[in-house]
């Protein structure tokens, strides 16, 4: 029997240098001058957050009455990892050629995908990474797919315009990329997008997919989308989901 301890997955704790030591690193600023009182305030902040043995390792005054802190603390409660269930878009991972072959073989026609950054969002990095020919980090974008006609409408597209274009092009899927999430701007825009698709009577026919650095599948489905893709997603994830979901729907 190994002497190496194994984590208890029903009670997982942060891992410093010893299993279950619960070590947590924190940094923040307080609007007070540096000094013994500030140090005590920072320690108490950790205690109130439920971290014990707060250790202040850095206290730097970064301006008049503003101080930056780095502290370590110890978590006192673990999480039950074993029972966690995170909803994820259900699909089999395939590469570009496999996806093209699947579309050709089973659906027997070219798919149309229309994408944009809806509303006031001006950040096209995400939609470009998924849609443009070149893709991102060695993963080709949807434009490169033989069996997908990809239309990237770019930034700051009103949801109405995006849906109208999707209808005009006979789209199979609408892709929305949201980067700006300050003040929950994206929630309003995405809700609006789904409402318009419903109002136009295309919600059941066109897949609604959203991606972005703060996006999860769970949030996406709550907002009425079919799938949500977060950081680390590439064009083949979106394409594989679209193809397989359309096949699922066709066979129903």
């Amino acid at each position: 029997m190994s002497l190496v301890k194994q984590p208890d997955l029903t009670n997982v704790l942060p891992y410093g240098d010893t299993l279950d030591d619960g070590k947590v690193q924190c940094s923040f600023a307080l609007p007070v001058p540096a000094g013994p009182e500030a140090a005590e305030a920072a320690r108490r902040m950790l205690l109130q957050l439920g971290l014990k043995d707060p250790l202040l390792v850095a206290m730097e005054e970064m301006g008049p009455s503003t101080t930056f802190f780095v502290l370590y603390g110890t978590a006192t409660v673990g999480v039950d990892y074993a029972t966690i269930h995170v909803p994820k878009a259900e699909f089999e991972h395939l590469d570009m050629h496999e996806i093209d072959d699947l579309i050709e073989r089973v659906l027997g026609r070219e798919l149309v995908v229309v994408g944009a950054c809806p509303g006031s969002d001006a950040h096209t990095v995400g939609i470009d990474a998924i849609m443009n020919m070149k893709g991102f980090a060695g993963h080709y974008g949807l434009e490169r797919y033989r069996q997908i006609r990809a239309i990237n409408m770019g930034a700051q597209v009103p949801p109405e315009t995006l849906v109208a274009r999707a209808i005009e092009e006979g789209a199979d899927a609408v892709l929305a990329s949201v980067v700006v999430t300050q003040k929950d701007l994206h929630i309003t825009t995405l809700t609006h997008l789904v409402e318009i698709m419903e109002a136009e009577g295309v919600r059941g026919r066109i897949l609604a997919i959203v991606g972005g650095p703060r996006m999860t599948h769970e949030l996406a489905t709550e907002l009425g989308f079919d799938a949500g893709f977060g950081p680390g997603s590439f064009a083949e994830d979106v394409a594989a989901f679209v193809a397989q979901e359309l096949i699922r729907r066709q066979s129903r």
Binding site: G63, S120, D121, K134, G154, Q156, V180, L185
Partner: protein, 528 residues
Amino acid sequence: MKIPVDLDKVAQARDLAIAITRPLKAYFAEHSTITIERAVLRLYGIDGTDADDVPWPNRVVEQLASAGRLDRGAAIALGQAVLATGRDPQEAAEALASGIIPFDDAPESLAQAREWALMVARRKLDDLMAFRARRREMRAALGTGPSPWKYVIVATGNIYEDVPQAQLAARQGADIVAVIRSTGQSLLDYVPFGHTTFGTGGTYATGANFKLMRQALDELGAELGRYVQLTNYASGLCMPEITVLAAQEGLDMLLNDALYGILFRDINIYRTLTDQHFSRLLNAACGILINTGEDNYLTTADAFEEGHTVLSSQFINERFALDAGMTESLMGLGHAFEMNPGTEDGLLYEIAMAQLVRQVFPDAPIKWMPPTKHVTGNVFWTYAHNTLYNLVGVLTDQSIELLGMLTEAIHTPFASDRYLALKNADYVFNYARHLQDEIAWNPDGRIAQRARQVLDEAVTLLEEVADEGLVKAIGRGVFAGVKRPPDGGKGLEGVFARHSAYFNPFEDLLDAGKPAIARRVVQPEATP
């Protein structure tokens, strides 16, 4: 520290840029836009909004457009309104907007209106020049820090939160404070009015917000004994109007780049290039340093493969700026540290690009931008990434450095993010201050070869663009991989052909006052 640069190639690139921009110069002379006319009204002092919060300059221009008089320019109509009502320009403009002033085409009336418009324009520009001269004196007396100038952003959305954040950043050592605009402001065809507290991802650029921030930084500068520069963003549908407000409120710099607006904000090519020309005439006269946005090309295209597109665009932007009377000392041409961090010898290629731009534009206060594309949410990794960025910045003598934030790609910067960024930059700039004087690069080495390759590719691309024309080239996506058709994008409906009686005395005066810039820009020194 120098790398070998083929000066004939550089001269060839500049000649090509002249050929590329020439047809557009002719276009600028024959057209104007609604925001240029609103800028003219703002230069006459027209400000404020009507009861529905519509700015008066917009109201006047809408009235002129609906009466079919806009193609003569706003200046004459305002002159006629002032002479007809005997009121001051603001009251006359409000009367003009309400449509109660009849238009008079009698030659005598037009001549009198022109005379008034020219006389008042001259006075307004004299006042503006005197104001800018006072600011230059104050700046010279206080002095600015050594380069690279450390540029940070504040972006709370609320001007009353921005002010203490900006002051804190300046106390921490920032040389330049930029107030990021609210998401989407670049696509508004009007400038919001007054102090604002509700922006998302940034704070609305308004005259009142500019004034408040300027005052706060002036007060702090006096206390610190160091001038703190203020910048904002003019690229967008209101480029000339934002420029007027920046000139009136004492801003030092402006992001001012039509190519950026075309590619990244989908603004119509003709609209924003025409706007840019008038805007840059004013920047030249007021000594406002422009920043261009070529760095952004590398956020959508690969930094290794597309490095030359940045340099090509800089040559074009330089030419547009020279044509508006700007000196090299006002050209903050943009470029960036955006190579994939997994690239073997990526640091060498970054040095090659940064040093090449430095040598090609020796008198320009070039603006160096931090990594964003390959930044993940891992703040520790980003901090390491930014340290190398700072090292290349000081090594290649960049003029303006927008500091990378460890929370890039997460949120608008916390005060502590800026603190850590400034601490990093101060450490590296000081620790490696004279490294550039100690290094001689291998003339046949990887860095020199990369620089040669980028320059060669830039010239080849400029040749292609000169052959097909800039508008067509943008249409096929040569920059940033983004394609923009000539009749697409936002704002084309706001462009109009000038009537033979068109009159814009500010443009005429600014144009006449341009320093002699027909000359070729100074060539970089020959390298052994």
